[in-house]
C-alpha cells in the first residue's frame, strides 16, 4: 500500500494511493459538498460521473477546478476546498442547476428530504441570477413510480442503479445539451419499459424527479367510508426503518408504536405480514422439499434450484428478462398476496363480511408491491386481494398527518389471528432471511428432528452473492443468495448455462433485501443505515418466543380450520400463482 501526502486547507493528510480528494477531505473533516456523487460503502455501489461539478476544489498548479469526487490525490497535492474562486464557482453552478428547476418546493413530495434543497441551503443560495428556458417533460405515471423529469438534475444516480446495479436497463440519458434528461428507450412510458418497479431509482433520486405513487389519500377515503372494514398488514422491514422518519436512530425497532399509530389512524384491525411470511415458508418450504425429493428420486422433469418468489420486482425481472425460465421460481405467492388471499376469504368469513366490504391495505418497504397488488391474477371478480399498498415513507406521511407525537405512543400488539408471527417471519426483511426461515422449517419437516441451532450465520451478511451448504442430517443442501438484480442475473445466467450447483436460491431485488427497499426512508447513501436495519431485524428475531414458521400456532390453526395441508388443493388455489412471459 503506497501512501501519499496531500494538503487540504492547510491540513496535511496521508492517504492511500487511489484515494480521491473527497476521500482525503473526509479524513481531515473537511466537508466538501457533493450532489451527483453517491456511494454505498461495502456494497460496491458508487455513482461518480463527475457531472454536477458542485464538489469542485482548487488544486495548486492545475488550470481549472477539479471535481473532488473523481480526482485522485497525487503526492504533494495542495488543495483549497473553500477559496473564493471555489465558492463562487460552486454557487454559480448551483444557481445554474436551480435556474432549470421548478420552484415547487412547498408542494414537492421530496420537500424536506431533497438533497438539492438542502444543498441550496448549505450553499446559502438566496437569489438565482439566471433566468431562461426551463426543461419541460410530460409526467409519466406507472403503477408504482412517478417520473417528473422537470425536476431531474442529471445526476445519473438512477441510471447507475438501474443499469449497473440492477441491470434492468429501463433508464438512460437521452438527448443532448440542455435537452438531455434521463428517460426510457424512445421515451416510452415506464410501464411499457423493462422497469421492474424495484424503486432503487427512487431511493437514490436527490430531487422530486422520481417518487412513488402516493396512495395515502385513497386510504384516508376508505377509512372514512363507514361501509368498509379497513385492515392493514405491515411488512417486517417497515418496523426497523419507520422510526428514522421521526428522527430516531437507524435500527430503532418501532413495532409497537407503529401498531398503536395505525390503530389511531383508524384501521379496524392491525395485522402483520410476518404472519403471511410464516405461511409462505409453509408453502415454499414444502414445495422445496417436494421438488428436492422428486429430484433426488431421479425425476428429470423437476427443475432445481428452486428460486424464491416473494420479491415482486424480482418476479417482474424474470418475467421480462428471463421468460424462458418461468418454471424455476417457486409458485408460492408473496407474503403480501398470501395475506390478501387469506384475509379476503378466511378472515372475511370469520368477520362475517363480504370481500368487497373488506379493504386490505399493506405497508411495504417496496414500490413494486403496488404493482403486484394490481396484478389481474390477484383479483377475484375484479376485487383485489390487496386493495392498496403503501411504502414506509407513505406510512410516515400518513402518521404525520394524523398524529402529533409518534415517539410517545405506547407499544401495542398486533390483532389476531393474522398478527401472530415468528422470528422466521421477521427475517424476511433482510437478504438471506427468507432462505434462513425456509431452512429452519424445511430441516425439521424433512428430517423430523429438532434443529440443533436457529441462527445460520453463514446465510447472513451483505455480500452481493453468497453461498452456503446446510447439512440436512446427512443431506447437504446447497444454498445461494443474491440481492440486487445484477447479482440475480449472474445466478440466472449460471442456471441457464447449466453451471448452477444450488438446490435453492433466495433472490431479493434491492441491495440489502427489503431493509434497503425502494419504499424505505431515504438512506442518502449511508450504508450504515442499512446495516443498522439489518441488525435490528436479527434482534427482533432473537427476541421472539417462537422462531420457526411451522410452530406459529395461528398458522397451524389456519391449516386445521381452513387450508388443510401445505400444497393441498385449497393452498394451491389461494396461495400459489403462475408467471407470464412479459418480454416485449
Amino acid at each position: 500500500m503506497e501512501l501519499i501526502k496531500v494538503t487540504i486547507d492547510n491540513k496535511v493528510v496521508e492517504v492511500e494511493k487511489g484515494t480521491t480528494i473527497l476521500g482525503a477531505a473526509k479524513k481531515v473533516n473537511v466537508d466538501i459538498p457533493t450532489l451527483c456523487h453517491f456511494k454505498l460503502h461495502d456494497m460496491n455501489i458508487e455513482n461518480k460521473p463527475g457531472g454536477c461539478r458542485i464538489c469542485v476544489v482548487e488544486v495548486d498548479g492545475r488550470k481549472n477546478l477539479a471535481p473532488a469526487c473523481a480526482t485522485d490525490c497525487t503526492e504533494g497535492m495542495v488543495i483549497k476546498s473553500h477559496s473564493v474562486r471555489v465558492i463562487n464557482a460552486r454557487k454559480t453552478v448551483m444557481e445554474l442547476i436551480l435556474s432549470d428547476h421548478p420552484f415547487e418546493c412547498l408542494v414537492c413530495a421530496k420537500s424536506g428530504t431533497c438533497d438539492l434543497q438542502s444543498l441550496a441551503q448549505q450553499l446559502g443560495i438566496r437569489k438565482i441570477h439566471f433566468e431562461g428556458k426551463k426543461s419541460s417533460y410530460r409526467l409519466d405515471t406507472s403503477p408504482s413510480i412517478i417520473r417528473e423529469m422537470n425536476k431531474c438534475i442529471m445526476c445519473r444516480r438512477c441510471e447507475m442503479m438501474c443499469n449497473k446495479v440492477q441491470t434492468v436497463g429501463a433508464l438512460s440519458a437521452i438527448n443532448r445539451g440542455f435537452d438531455s434528461v434521463v428517460s426510457t428507450a424512445f421515451e416510452m412510458n415506464l410501464k411499457n419499459s423493462t422497469c421492474t418497479y424495484c424503486g432503487q431509482c427512487v431511493s437514490v433520486c436527490p430531487t422530486g424527479a422520481l417518487t412513488e405513487v402516493d396512495d395515502t389519500a385513497r386510504i384516508i377515503r376508505a377509512l372514512a367510508d363507514p361501509s368498509k372494514t379497513v385492515i392493514v398488514q405491515t411488512a417486517p422491514a417497515v418496523r426497523v426503518a419507520l422510526g428514522e422518519e421521526f428522527g430516531m436512530e437507524p435500527g430503532t425497532i418501532v413495532t409497537g408504536k407503529m401498531v398503536a399509530a395505525l390503530r389511531r389512524i383508524g384501521f379496524d384491525q392491525v395485522f402483520d405480514t410476518d404472519f403471511a411470511a410464516d405461511l409462505t415458508i409453509m408453502e415454499e418450504g414444502s414445495e422445496l422439499l417436494n421438488r428436492l425429493g422428486k429430484h433426488l428420486a431421479g425425476d428429470k422433469t423437476v427443475k432445481l434450484p428452486m428460486l424464491t418468489s416473494c420479491c415482486p420486482a424480482w418476479v417482474n425481472f424474470f418475467e421480462k428478462q428471463f421468460p424462458d425460465m418461468l418454471d424455476i421460481p417457486s409458485t408460492a405467492k408473496s407474503p403480501q398476496q398470501m395475506f390478501g388471499a387469506i384475509a379476503k376469504t378466511y378472515l372475511a368469513d370469520k368477520m362475517g363480511i363480504k370481500r368487497e366490504d373488506l379493504v386490505v391495505v399493506s405497508v411495504m418497504p417496496c414500490l413494486a408491491k403496488k404493482y403486484e397488488a394490481q396484478r389481474d391474477e390477484f383479483k377475484t371478480n375484479g376485487n383485489p386481494d390487496v386493495d392498496f399498498s403503501i411504502s414506509t415513507r407513505e406510512l410516515a406521511h400518513l402518521i404525520k398527518q394524523t398524529i402529533r407525537d409518534f415517539d410517545s405512543l405506547p407499544d401495542e400488539d398486533f390483532d389476531r389471528p393474522m398478527g401472530e408471527s415468528t422470528g422466521a417471519g421477521v427475517i424476511f426483511g433482510t437478504t438471506g432471511g427468507v432462505i434462513e426461515a425456509a431452512v429452519r422449517s424445511a430441516y425439521e419437516l424433512h428430517t423430523h428432528k429438532k434443529l440443533p441451532r436457529l441462527n445460520f450465520e453463514e446465510l447472513r451478511g451483505l455480500e452481493g452473492i453468497r453461498e452456503a451448504t446446510i447439512d440436512f442430517d446427512g443431506l447437504p443442501i446447497k444454498i445461494g443468495i443474491a440481492h440486487g438484480l445484477g447479482n440475480a442475473r449472474k445466478l440466472l445466467e449460471d442456471i441457464r448455462a447449466g453451471r448452477s450447483h444450488f438446490h435453492a436460491i433466495e433472490i431479493m431485488s434491492c441491495p440489502g433485501g427489503c431493509i434497503g427497499g425502494g419504499g424505505q426512508p431515504l438512506h442518502h447513501g449511508h450504508s450504515s443505515i442499512i446495516k443498522a436495519r439489518q441488525a435490528a431485524i436479527y434482534k427482533e428475531d432473537a427476541g421472539k418466543a417462537i422462531r420457526k414458521s411451522h410452530e406459529n400456532p395461528d398458522i397451524i390453526k389456519l391449516y386445521d380450520e381452513f387450508l388443510g395441508t401445505p400444497l393441498g388443493e385449497k393452498s394451491h388455489h389461494l396461495l400459489h400463482t403462475e408467471y407470464f412471459n412479459r418480454k416485449k
Partner: protein, 597 residues
C-alpha cells in the same frame, strides 16, 4: 502518369463533386474518346486542391495548367483547345485580382506560394481510389522503412525528435503519446484515428481522407507497430460518405497488396483497420467521448485520468490521433525527423492545415508552416478581405476558439501564441470577419453551436452555455443591461473553470475574446441599443433618405409586407411598425437611398 502523355486532374472532393465534376470528367473522357486520345490522355479524379474559392479545379499535367471554375460545358473546349491544339483556354485561367495578370501555373499563385503541403501532399495529385498512384508517390515506403530498419523504440524516438504535436487541437506531443501507449502493459491495444471533424466550416480531415486515404492507413500501421497494436479503428462521421467510400476502397486495396493484414511485408507484423461510424455529435471528437461512442455507449466524455493511452477502447490501451496528425507522419519517416523539425518554429514544428473561410477572397484549404503570421495567411494566401471591406477579426480554433484582431495580425501562428493571444489552434478552422460582422452575433453563433453540441453530462456546460446564449440573445434584441455583461464574464469564467471536458472548458472563449476585444460593441448594443454592423435586426431600422430617393417605387414592389408608401417620383417612407427588416428594399435600391440606422 504511367503510359499516358498527359493527365487531366479534376477535383473529386465533396465540394467540387457537388459542382458536377463527375459529369465534367465524363464529358472530358467522351471528347477524348471522340478524338481517339483515350490512350494518350488520362482523366484522373483527385482529392481536393484546396483552392475551393475557384472550384471546380482542373489541372493539366505535365505543364501544370490550372483551370478554375470549370463547368461541364467547358469540357469540349478544354480538350479541343488545350489538348489538341495546345492552346490554353484563357477564359478559364486564374487572374490575379491585384495585378490582373493571368497565372496558369498554380505555384506562382499567391494562394499556393506560401504553402507547404505535407499532410496535403497528395491531395489534388493522385487518384485516391488507386493505390498504385499513391505508391508511385511513396505511399507505404515509410511503413517499409520502419518495419525493416527500426525497432518500435527507435521509431517512437523519431516521432519525438520530429516535434510533432497533435493536430486535432490539443497539441499534445505525438511521440510522447505513442511512448506512453507503448509502455502500457502488453496485450490487446488499439490505434484510433479520430476523423470526427466537427468544427463549423472545417474540412481538413475530410479532404485528406477523400484525397489521400493511404497516408492515414500507413501512419496508423506505423503507430500500431510502435505501440504494439494489431487493430486500427477509424472513427468517422457518417456525414462523410465520400471519405468513407474512399477509405473502404483504400483499405481493400491495401489488404490486397499485403500492406494491411497479416504479416505485413513479411515482417511478422500484423495490422488491420476497421471503420466505426459516428452520428455527428461534436463532442465525440473528444477522445474519451469518442471511445464511449465506439463502445456503443452514449457519446459522453469521462474524466481523465485514466487516459486512453492507459485505459481506452474496451478498457485497453488506445492511442488516439487525429487524421491530419496521421497524414503527416509518413513524410516524417521518409524525410527524417530533422527535416520535419526544421519546418515551423521553436515550439511548434511542421505545418498546419487550415480551412480558410469567411469574408476572404481565397476561401479554401491551406497548409502553412507553423509560425506563418496571420497577416501572411489572410492577405497573401487568402488574398485579403472580400469586396475591399475592412478586416475586423479572425476567428480561429472553431467554436472553442476566440477572435483575434488587427493587433494580432503579425502573431506567428502556433499552439502557444494563439492561446496567449486569447484563442487557440483547434483543429484548424479560420474564419475571417469584416466590418459587416457584429461581434456579439458572432459570439452568439458559436454559443448556439456549443449549446446544441454539449453532451449534457455536466451542469455548467449543459445549463451554463444555454444561459450564456440566452443573455446574448437578450443583448442582440436590445434588452441587455450592463449587469448582463458582468454576468456574461463571470459565468463564462465559471463554465471554463468547472466543466468536465474540453468542450465546456473552451465554449465561452468566443464570448470572452469578443468581450476583451470588442467591448465597445457590446456597450453599444446594451447602452445605445445599436448594432453598428447592422446585423441585429431588433436594433436597427431601414429608413429612406428623402433627398436621395427619386420615387422609383422599386422598393415598394419588393417589400413583402407593404411597409413602404409614397407616390411615384416622390420620396418614399418606411412604416417602422410594419417593417420586418428583411432588407429586400435595401438590396433593391439603386440609388443608395435606403439607409440602415
Amino acid at each position: 502518369m504511367g503510359n499516358y502523355k498527359t493527365e487531366i486532374l479534376i477535383c473529386g472532393g465533396s465540394g467540387c463533386k457537388a459542382s458536377q465534376t463527375v459529369l465534367t470528367a465524363k464529358l472530358l473522357r467522351e471528347v477524348l474518346e471522340e478524338n481517339n486520345l483515350s490512350s494518350e490522355v488520362q482523366v484522373v479524379m483527385t482529392g481536393c486542391f484546396g483552392f475551393c474559392e475557384k472550384g471546380p479545379i482542373v489541372k493539366i499535367m505535365p505543364d501544370n495548367t490550372f483551370y478554375v471554375k470549370v463547368k461541364p460545358e467547358d469540357a469540349r473546349e478544354l480538350i479541343e483547345e488545350h489538348i489538341i491544339k495546345g492552346k490554353k483556354v484563357n477564359r478559364l485561367l486564374y487572374v490575379d485580382p491585384k495585378t490582373k495578370e493571368i497565372i496558369s501555373d498554380s505555384k506562382h499563385m499567391g494562394f499556393y506560394k506560401k504553402q507547404n503541403r505535407i499532410a496535403l501532399r497528395n491531395c489534388g495529385v493522385i487518384d485516391p481510389e488507386n493505390i498504385d498512384e499513391a505508391i508511385a508517390r511513396n505511399a507505404y515506403t515509410a511503413l517499409g522503412k520502419v518495419l525493416n530498419e527500426m525497432t518500435p523504440e527507435v521509431a517512437i524516438d523519431v516521432m519525438k525528435k520530429s516535434g510533432m504535436r497533435g493536430r486535432g487541437g490539443g497539441g499534445f506531443p505525438t511521440g510522447m503519446k505513442w511512448d506512453i501507449t507503448s509502455k502500457s502493459p502488453a496485450g490487446q491495444k488499439y490505434v484510433v484515428c479520430n476523423a470526427d471533424e466537427g468544427d463549423p466550416g472545417a474540412f481538413m480531415d475530410r479532404s485528406i481522407l477523400e484525397g489521400d486515404p493511404h497516408s492515414v492507413l500507413e501512419a496508423m500501421a506505423i503507430c500500431g507497430y510502435c505501440i504494439g497494436a494489431d487493430t486500427g479503428l477509424i472513427y468517422i462521421r457518417a456525414e462523410y460518405p465520400l471519405a468513407i467510400e474512399r477509405l473502404k476502397i483504400a483499405i481493400k486495396q491495401a489488404r490486397e497488396k499485403g500492406l494491411l493484414g497479416n504479416d505485413i511485408l513479411g515482417k511478422g507484423f500484423s495490422f488491420d483497420v476497421e471503420l466505426k461510424y459516428g452520428a455527428g455529435a461534436f463532442v465525440c471528437g473528444e477522445e474519451t467521448a469518442l471511445i464511449s461512442s465506439m463502445e456503443g455507449l452514449r457519446g459522453e466524455p469521462t474524466f481523465k485520468p485514466p487516459f486512453p493511452s492507459v485505459e481506452g477502447y474496451l478498457g485497453k490501451p488506445t492511442n488516439v490521433n487525429n487524421v491530419e496528425t496521421f497524414a503527416s507522419i509518413p513524410e516524417i519517416f521518409n524525410k527524417g525527423a530533422e527535416w520535419f523539425a526544421s519546418i515551423g518554429n521553436e515550439k511548434s514544428k511542421g505545418t498546419k492545415v487550415f480551412a480558410l473561410a469567411g469574408k476572404i477572397n481565397n476561401v479554401g484549404l491551406i497548409e502553412v508552416p507553423m509560425g506563418t503570421t496571420l497577416r501572411e495567411v489572410i492577405y497573401e494566401i487568402g488574398g485579403g478581405i472580400k469586396d475591399g471591406k475592412k478586416f475586423k477579426a479572425v476567428q480561429t480554433g472553431g467554436p472553442s476558439g476566440g477572435c483575434l484582431t488587427s493587433k494580432d495580425l503579425d502573431t506567428p501562428i502556433d499552439y502557444d501564441n494563439l492561446i496567449a493571444a486569447g484563442s487557440m489552434m483547434g483543429s484548424g478552422g479560420m474564419i475571417v470577419l469584416d466590418e459587416d460582422d457584429c461581434m456579439v452575433s458572432i459570439a452568439k453563433f458559436y454559443l448556439e453551436f456549443t449549446v446544441e453540441e454539449s453532451c449534457g453530462k455536466c451542469s455548467p456546460c449543459r445549463i451554463g452555455n444555454k444561459r450564456l446564449h440566452e443573455i446574448l440573445e437578450k443583448i442582440c434584441k436590445g434588452n441587455g443591461t450592463l449587469e448582463d455583461l458582468e454576468q456574461l464574464r463571470n459565468l463564462s469564467k465559471v463554465i471554463k473553470d468547472t466543466s468536465l471536458c474540453g468542450l465546456g472548458q473552451t465554449s465561452p472563449n468566443p464570448i470572452l475574446s469578443t468581450l476583451d476585444n470588442f467591448y465597445d460593441e457590446y456597450l453599444e448594443h446594451v447602452h445605445d441599443k445599436k448594432c453598428r454592423a447592422g446585423v441585429c435586426k431588433s436594433l436597427m431600422k431601414y429608413v429612406i433618405e428623402p433627398d436621395t430617393c427619386i420615387g422609383c417605387t422599386a422598393c415598394v414592389r419588393v417589400c413583402p409586407v407593404d411597409a413602404i408608401s409614397g407616390e411615384k417620383k416622390m420620396s418614399h417612407l418606411i412604416n417602422q411598425a410594419t417593417c420586418i427588416k428583411c432588407g429586400a428594399c435595401y438590396d433593391k435600391c439603386k440609388f443608395n437611398a435606403i439607409l440602415i440606422k
